[in-house]
């Protein structure tokens, strides 16, 4: 799994590539904790290049969404890969997360505040 982090206008962008599973989800959790603790109000996670995400990855995203809500931050999942979409549908979690069809849409939502 590779994680790239960029500061964008009005948000932080995290691009995740590869597999999010038992061996890599702790690293994703650490990145998210570091970012959500900062001042910016919104975080966008680009999941377009995630080949495989399992229940440990979903657990990290649920924790991050809960944390973001509690502390007045916005978490947006953007551009889901087919596998990530399938997993979220199976878990019936599409309604729990804020999901943008593509990255541009997510960044637009951030700029709009």
């Amino acid at each position: 799994m590779n994680i790239r982090r960029e500061a964008r206008e009005a948000c932080e962008l995290l691009t995740v590539e590869g597999d999010i599973d038992l061996s890599t989800s702790p690293s994703l959790r650490k990145h998210l904790e570091g970012i959500l603790d900062r001042e910016r109000t919104s975080l966008v996670i680009d999941l377009s290049s995630v080949r495989h995400m399992d229940s440990s990855g979903i657990a990290v995203l649920i924790e991050a969404e809960r944390w973001a809500r509690k502390h007045g931050r916005r978490l947006l999942l953007a551009s889901l890969s087919d596998q990530v979409r399938m997993v979220l549908e199976l878990a019936r979690l599409q309604g729990f997360f804020s999901i943008a069809e593509d990255l541009e849409g997510a960044l637009r939502l951030c700029r709009a505040g």
């Binding site: 597999d19 599973d21 038992l22 061996s23 495989h52 399992d54 229940s55 440990s56 979903i58 657990a59 990290v60 649920i62 924790e63 087919d82 596998q83 399938m86 997993v87 549908e89 199976l90 878990a91 019936r92 979690l93 729990f96």
Partner: protein
């Protein structure tokens, strides 16, 4: 087809890739993602719960039949608590506990067995053709 590896978190991607490669000629991309998810969750349970992160032998066997295929996982760790294998309700959104739910969605039958020599066996069976799991009432 049979593979054996040390059950640690690093072996999961290798098992998923091996299963994907073996089934890619018979399943479409979405079906492959489902099966790979289910096998990955079952193996992660063995890494986490049967071996408690300490590792140990894990054998994966794939058998293709005319109507269905079967994936068998054998390990020599702690036996699984049958109660812990029950999928939880999806109304309870919280981290954890989704793995067994995914397994129950993507396989038609799952059996947990313990052999007299202490080997734990998980057998997961799926028909080659089946309805979309997210359309079911699980």
């Amino acid at each position: 087809m049979e593979w054996t590896c040390n059950a640690d978190a690093g072996c999961l991607a290798w098992i998923r890739d091996s299963i994907r490669k073996e089934l890619s000629s018979r399943l479409d991309a979405k079906q492959l993602d489902e099966v790979v998810l289910g096998v990955g969750e079952a193996c992660a349970n063995i890494v986490k719960h049967a071996y408690e992160g300490k590792g140990g032998p894990l054998t994966v066997r794939l058998e293709k039949g005319a109507e269905d295929f079967e994936i068998e996982l054998r390990n020599r760790g702690k036996p699984l608590d049958p109660g812990a294998c029950r999928p939880r309700s999806l109304d309870d959104i919280r981290p954890g506990g989704l793995g067994t739910y995914f397994m129950s969605c993507v396989f038609d039958e799952i059996r947990y067995e313990r052999e007299p020599d202490g080997t734990n066996v998980v057998v997961m069976r799926r028909k080659w053709t089946r309805p979309d799991p997210k359309d079911g009432d699980r």
